[in-house]
């Protein structure tokens, strides 16, 4: 599948990669240059492969409350929240962000390729007056991220320039409604635009035009991955693969224990026992780049496995996320990563790396 702005990216010289069934820009020029632009100026990402669902009706809040680990009752109109949806056994189906647009109206963004799963998931738990609409292929998501993002936003869309972090401001386009949100996946200040498909090209071009004077660079999924990894953010197909709970994944903080949700009992039991893997950061102290699947050992005994790894463009050293047994999870612990038969020394660190 292709996103609506595919031809725009192709004309801009993007190299493409496959992700969740979508052909997406991996990089336009250099992943390292794109990464650096986001950390020092600004980057523009098309992440329209992500899923978009609308929950509408008097029963919408109760449905969301039942199906995610955080409590949407705590989220006011015009605010966003990051959370996870869990199975009965407490393992994560997906992480997602939702916004309360109004009472009885929520916008939910799970990961790419997860829309049908969530239509089913929400459908199964819906009670009373609630409609679940899959808007995934009607909407584009464009992310503007970096220290200069706010300045570019003010130049391109002054009327919504004061959108707060984790807040949202609705926007009207010729093609329909959208909104801008103070969210992102890079660890830098920035915003994301949710726009109807027909408005996406002009939105993209206008940001490029205003951003040109501020060092704005188009960025693909390659830089998106190095940026999120430097901050220790999870990427579902890596960190949730094989069935992981929010407690394992370091996402216990999203769980609100004072409401009922699918998976709560299993998570309470897991929290009681404490006997579960922990997702940790690893920073290579020797030469080498830990990669997904590499085994992690301490004194020759296997203690875990790497789920994501790369060369940190900012630190110029290998960094990774890995699940390890609790006894190996203490920051400062020394471990060894088996990188294709070579032992690479690494240190457990608490993310963010940068």
């Amino acid at each position: 599948m292709r996103v609506p702005l595919h031809d725009v990216h192709e004309a801009a010289g993007a190299r493409f990669t496959e992700f969740a069934g979508f052909e997406m820009p991996l990089q336009y020029d250099s992943i390292l240059a794109e990464h650096e632009a986001v950390r020092t100026a600004a980057g523009l990402f098309d992440v329209s492969h992500m899923s978009n669902l609308w929950l509408e009706g008097d029963g919408a809040e109760a449905l969301l409350s039942r199906t995610v680990a955080s409590d949407p009752a705590k989220v006011k109109v015009g605010r966003a929240q990051y959370t996870v949806a869990c199975r009965e056994d407490g393992t994560i189906i997906d992480d997602l962000i939702f916004w309360r647009l109004a009472d009885g109206r929520f916008h939910v963004v799970p990961n790419a390729g997860m829309n049908e799963t969530f239509v089913d998931w929400f459908g199964r738990h819906a009670e009373g007056d609630v409609r679940v609409l899959d808007m995934s292929r009607e909407l584009c998501i464009l992310a503007l991220q970096g220290p200069k993002a706010r300045k570019i936003l003010a130049g391109a869309h002054p009327e919504v320039a004061d959108v707060k972090k984790f807040g949202l401001k609705e926007m009207e386009f010729d093609a329909g409604h959208g909104f801008v949100s103070g969210t992102g996946y890079t660890g830098e200040d920035g915003v994301e635009f949710v726009v109807p498909n027909a408005a996406a090209a002009s939105c993209w071009r206008q940001l490029e035009s205003v951003g040109a004077g501020e060092g704005l660079v188009r960025c693909g999924l390659g830089a998106r991955d190095t940026l999120r990894l430097e901050k220790g953010f999870c990427l579902a197909p890596h960190e949730f693969k094989g069935g992981r709970s929010p407690l394992e994944a370091g996402l216990g903080w999203v769980v609100h224990w004072d409401h009922e949700f699918v998976g709560k009992e299993a998570l309470e039991a897991q929290r009681e026992s404490g006997d579960h893997d922990r997702l940790v950061g690893l920073k290579a102290t020797g030469r080498g780049i830990p990669r997904e699947g590499c085994g992690v050992t301490v004194d020759g005994s296997e203690v875990g496995v790497v789920t994501s790894g790369t060369m940190s463009p900012t630190l110029r050293t290998g960094i990774a996320l890995a699940y390890v047994r609790p006894e190996a999870a203490e920051p400062g612990s020394e471990v060894v990563v088996d990188v294709r038969g070579r032992s690479v020394a690494a240190e457990v660190v608490k993310p963010p790396f940068v």
């Binding site: 190299r15 990669t17 991996l26 990089q27 250099s30 992943i31 390292l32 390659g222 991955d225 190095t226 030469r287 080498g288 780049i289 990669r291 790369t310 060369m311 463009p313 290998g318 294709r340 070579r342």
Partner: protein, 123 residues
């Protein structure tokens, strides 16, 4: 200069082969962030994996185009792997091999044949 199908190049300087990866290879990888090279004294057979070059997203093995003993390794690449992108045939050289059999170079591709092969790869 001679080329392997696996995108290494060889430049024979007397009995010593200088080895690196081609411009086509570095362009495909884009940013090289890490290189794993053998040690001086290592003995290679043509076709052996002698190391690996890593970009942000990928790991590519390096294959010895000729047999012989490694007599020099470009250790600058440890701190500046980007030289492979910037100057693949010059400062991006990787290893020098004292050839066991200089005629092995004749079995490699010439420039025209290598370019033709890469065009085939692009299709």
């Amino acid at each position: 200069m001679a080329y392997a199908e696996s995108h290494e190049w060889v430049r024979a300087e007397g009995g010593v082969a200088v080895v690196g990866i081609t411009d086509y290879a570095q362009d495909s990888l884009t940013d090289v962030v890490f290189v794993e090279l053998p040690s001086v004294g290592d003995v290679l057979e043509a076709g052996d994996v002698f190391g690996a070059v890593e970009s942000v997203k990928s790991v590519s093995e390096l294959y010895a185009p000729v047999s012989g003993k490694v007599v020099e390794v470009n250790t600058v690449l440890e701190d500046e792997p980007e030289r492979i992108n910037d100057d693949p045939y010059g400062e991006g050289w990787m290893i020098k091999v004292e050839m066991a059999d200089a005629s092995e170079v004749d079995a490699l591709l010439d420039a025209a044949a290598y370019v033709k092969q890469t065009q085939g790869d692009d299709e």
